[in-house]
């Protein structure tokens, strides 16, 4: 846990969000402060140092996961602050919302198995020069759970090439030894992509849930460094 600091964080809450409390627990553990829980209908978003769009089933995942939340008034504020360089972390449904609202490239399609999948997966950290991942080692393999029905990352070839060229892939599903194979890809994602950055590197969307393995009692702590890194970055 990093020392308490003044920095303030916000968690956006949509109708149907259900990991908002979980991520608030991890944020408070890392920063020493409870985040602002911001109800989507408000057009006002306080000026904060970190915005989290949490997991869940905003609007029931009806129509398309994240589509209705992406049209919620609060997202204009989130997009504006992201434009000013404020770190934005979208987890699971939050990732879907960030792609639907255009902050991140690509889309999250129905899992190739067509089934909801909830289990721990191995992930390879592709980049550590960001506020989100700097407490991990390059190429480190971490174990974090996924829990989703629509996590099958897809994009057209040009966008994929651009993502790779700009090193915008944050994490990939991998085997325990870090190698990439189909067997360790839980949802059919293109190039085993589990999370991507925007071009500026201050917006991260990821399907796995770091907040779910940030407490030894729950079976692991590989998710904790993401929150401590953010806490340090925004405290600085």
């Amino acid at each position: 846990m990093s020392r308490p600091n003044r920095a303030s964080t916000a968690v956006i809450v949509f109708p149907g969000s259900n990991c908002d409390r979980d991520v608030a627990v991890s944020l408070e553990a890392a920063t020493g402060h409870a985040p602002h829980m911001v109800w989507h209908a408000g057009r006002e978003l306080p000026d904060v140092d970190l915005i989290v769009v949490p997991g869940g089933f905003s609007y029931g995942d009806y129509l398309r996961s994240g589509a209705m939340a992406a049209n919620s008034p609060i997202m204009r504020e989130v997009i504006a602050q992201a434009g000013r360089g404020v770190p934005v972390l979208g987890i699971c449904n939050g990732f879907q919302v960030l792609t639907e609202c255009g902050l991140l490239p690509g889309v999250l399609m129905r899992n190739a198995s067509l089934k909801f999948v909830c289990r721990d997966v191995d992930l390879r950290v592709e980049r550590t020069d960001t506020v989100f991942t700097r407490d991990y080692a390059e190429g480190q393999v971490i174990r974090i759970p996924v829990a989703h029905h629509d996590g099958n990352y897809f994009t057209d070839p040009d966008t994929l090439k651009a993502l790779e060229d700009n090193r915008q892939v944050a994490i990939r599903y991998c085997a325990p030894d870090g190698s990439l194979d189909g067997a360790s890809n839980p949802n059919g994602s293109l190039a085993n992509i589990a999370g991507v950055f925007n071009a500026a590197g201050n917006v991260l969307g990821m399907m796995p849930h770091p907040e779910r393995l940030a407490d030894p009692l729950l079976g692991g702590t590989d998710g904790a460094p993401m929150f401590t890194a953010l806490a340090e970055a925004i405290a600085a």
Partner: protein
């Protein structure tokens, strides 16, 4: 008797005698709406008319019990001003008709039973029974039910942490889908359904009312032109998103002091909820049905009263709080309508289009509900089958590999990986072990939760089987280190009008009652599902028990996985090699025959209490109860979970297969780093505990059997279910 002359030819399932009682109560013939109300209130489902006199015999009290059966769910004290609120409920028939929606709405219904009492749901479990794997319907039903349970629970964001799955031809035409929810509330913020007080507003919240679940039979007997009711399914569709909003809105309103009473609209929707509130509050209720939010046009009073549309609640508020309450529900984008008020009349009066559509005195409607002492026939006892009467396998190792790859004993991972079992961030003990462990949010405590029943035992001997269901659930909770607090139960049986079926129900209740008393685990809630038959063929008698226990310090828990090489393996409890009705006998030795293993409740209690103390005392590094498949299967599961083998070198006078697969009750396999201390403690307590061998190596070696590599065990255990479900 002029009223009798007007007797309609369709009594909507009521008997002539029941109809006469209605004539007496009303002093006139009921109109169609009134008859519909009596018919649902006096249905087996709502009135428990066949089981009530026997349910009364169950123990329901204890210092930990805050609320026993009779409310929406049971309530037990877990200390620090908190209570666990839980119940199990069946959705068998709807799940057979439409597995996805049937199972989904089953989960939605039990969640409402729990949060209507002020609890935030923290865990779901599901006890599932399907037909033979090779029955043409089974695969489709498994896939639909599992995705329906996941679809609802995952969306609303309550972890699904445990349950059971069995396959048996007896369920080919009647699958069982029993859903359990556990919630947590502050003991001083528990909400009940008694509408005490007059002149109070009656408020409807949630989804609009459609014609969902209104039964064809009732429809046909309606004196309306039938084409207004072109064939429409009675299947209800669940909307977990709306339920999530309803949950948050209700909890937000419950934090204020606006609510006098609240009741979910479950089976028989508006009818049972309004009658329940009026009856418990000893008041009258007048409902203005025109004000009920409707989803469809042309709806009639009887439809509004019988509709089983989901995600709805009825509340009685303190006068003057309507606007504050409305604001909360509108924030959550839900319907909110004042549809009536309480009064002193003790009558249920329904107004429709300026006229009285129904007027029924509530006390007799409830008090005069039929209650039958149905004739019953005790199940004839079966002979005890000795170990030597059950054919031995070529090699115990091969038999073990076959059993752990069988439909009833293989890994359920394929099931629970489709359930979000981690959301809410407190799942300390995930599915795959014995009881699930869910931390009480923000504390160091945890609830241990398990469901169990062994139907083949109940069929062979309902009393012993009833005891065993309670004992196994209690054992699963104990095996984590938790202290069982209370149980809920779901009695799934055939047609109670047949004396042999009624005899199964009676015996099971007697056995359950005895076990609950001996194990200090009172029954605080439950549900009865009868008439589970197709063409005269009943399901196996299936009294499912859900047990909830408390672990004061979650860090003291143990799991079922072998912890470390070099540690000693013990079995606590007597191993006599009981193969009668064992899975080994059923699957590998010619079928289930003879008497099931008896349950000595006194021994069960002492062995469990000893194991729990040893766990809490830090003497035990892993613990797994012994159930289906006996010691061999228990040891294999511990090896697979720990990814390390064991050398089981104990001698035994028993035939190898009886030692390995016997299902003697009251047993636990434990490991310890301090064998002498453990043995001495058992000795001192007068508990039979024998050392079986030592953890270590890459294989499991059983007495008189060739070694099996843990990898082979894991493959066998993991293989069947995914292969079965993906095969074309």
């Amino acid at each position: 008797m002029s009223a009798a002359a007007e007797r309609p030819d369709d009594l909507m399932g009521l008997s002539d005698g029941e109809y006469d009682t209605i004539l007496d109560i009303l002093g006139r013939a009921p109109n169609f709406t009134e008859l519909s109300i009596f018919s649902v209130m006096w249905s087996e489902h709502c009135s428990y008319k066949s089981s009530k006199i026997w349910l009364k015999t169950l123990p329901t009290e204890g210092p930990q019990v805050i609320q026993g059966p009779g409310e929406n769910a049971g309530v037990v004290d877990i200390g620090d001003g908190l209570a666990a609120i839980f119940k199990i409920e069946s959705h068998n028939h709807p799940s057979f008709i439409e597995p996805y929606q049937g199972a989904a709405t089953g989960v939605g219904g039990i969640l409402r039973d729990v949060f209507t009492m002020g609890a935030r749901p923290v865990a779901n479990l599901n006890a599932l029974r399907f037909g033979a794997p090779d029955h043409p319907k089974t695969k489709h039903l498994v896939s639909g039910v599992v995705s329906g349970i996941g679809g609802y629970g995952n969306c609303i964001g309550v972890p699904t942490v445990g349950g059971e799955v069995n396959f048996d031809p007896a369920y080919n035409g009647n699958i069982l889908v029993n859903a359990m929810t556990v919630g947590i509330a502050a003991t001083d913020k528990i909400f009940y359904s008694a509408a005490a007080g007059v002149g109070l507003p009656v408020v409807y919240v949630g989804s609009k009312t459609g014609r969902d679940g209104i039964h064809g039979a009732t429809m046909a007997s309606a004196e309306f032109d039938d084409d207004t009711y072109e064939k429409r399914p009675t299947v209800q569709v669940g909307d977990p998103f709306t339920e999530k909003l309803l949950l948050e809105a209700c909890l937000e309103l419950m934090a204020t002091d606006a609510i006098v009473a609240i009741q979910d609209m479950g089976a028989a929707g508006l009818t049972s909820s309004s009658v329940e509130m009026a009856s418990k509050g000893e008041v009258g209720i007048t409902l203005h049905l025109d004000d009920v939010p409707m989803r469809e046009t042309g709806m009639q009073p009887f439809e509004l009263m019988l509709s089983e549309s989901q995600e709805r609640m009825l509340m009685v508020l303190q006068p003057g709080h309507e606007d504050a309450a409305r604001a909360i529900f509108e924030k959550w984008e839900l319907d909110f309508a004042v549809i009536g008020e309480t009064n002193t009349s003790e009558r249920l009066v329904l107004m429709w289009d300026g006229e009285v559509a129904a007027d029924i005195p509530v006390p007799p409607l409830v008090a005069a509900a039929p209650e039958y002492d149905r004739p019953w026939m005790a199940t004839p006892p079966r002979p005890v089958v000795g170990p030597d009467e059950v054919a031995a396998p070529g090699d115990v190792a091969d038999a073990l590999l076959t059993l752990i790859a069988s439909p009833d004993l293989c890994s359920r991972r394929w099931v629970w990986e489709q359930y979000d079992h981690m959301v809410m961030g407190d799942t300390v003990g995930r599915p795959g072990g014995d009881a699930a462990l869910v931390r009480v949010h923000g504390t160091g405590k945890a609830l241990a939760i398990a469901t169990d029943c062994t139907p083949r035992y109940v069929e062979a001997n309902p009393i012993e089987g009833g005891k065993q269901a309670v004992a196994e659930a209690w054992r699963n909770v104990t095996a984590t280190g938790a202290t069982p607090l209370a149980v809920t139960n779901n009695l799934n049986f055939g047609n109670p009008e047949r004396p042999e079926i009624m005899g199964q129900l009676v015996g099971a209740i007697q056995g359950m009652g005895a076990a609950c008393t001996a194990l200090d685990a009172p029954v605080v809630s439950g549900n009865v599902s009868l008439y589970n038959e197709t063409n005269g063929k009943a399901i196996l008698p299936t009294p499912v028990i859900g047990c909830v226990g408390l672990l004061d310090d979650v860090t003291r828990r143990v799991g079922a996985a072998f912890a470390a090489a070099g540690e000693a393996v013990f079995v606590v409890g007597e191993t006599a090699g009981w193969l009668g009705c064992s899975i080994y006998q059923r699957d590998l030795a010619g079928g289930c025959r003879g008497a099931p293993p008896p349950v000595d409740l006194d021994t069960e209690r002492r062995n469990g209490d000893f194991v729990r103390e040893a766990i809490l005392g830090g003497r035990v590094t892993a613990c797994h109860d012994v159930s289906d498949g006996g010691l061999a299967v228990a040891l294999a599961e511990m090896a697979i979970a720990g990814n390390v083998g064991a050398d089981i070198d104990t001698g035994t006078a028993l035939p190898a297969h009886a030692w390995a697969f016997g299902e003697d009750q009251g047993r636990y396999v434990v490991t310890t780093a301090d064998p002498d201390g453990f043995a001495a403690a058992a000795d001192g307590a007068g508990i039979p505990a024998s050392r079986l061998g030592t953890v270590g190596g890459a294989s499991l070696t059983l007495p008189g059997a060739k070694p099996i590599s843990v990898a082979d065990l894991r493959d066998a255990h993991a293989r069947w279910l995914p292969a079965y479900m993906t095969a074309g």
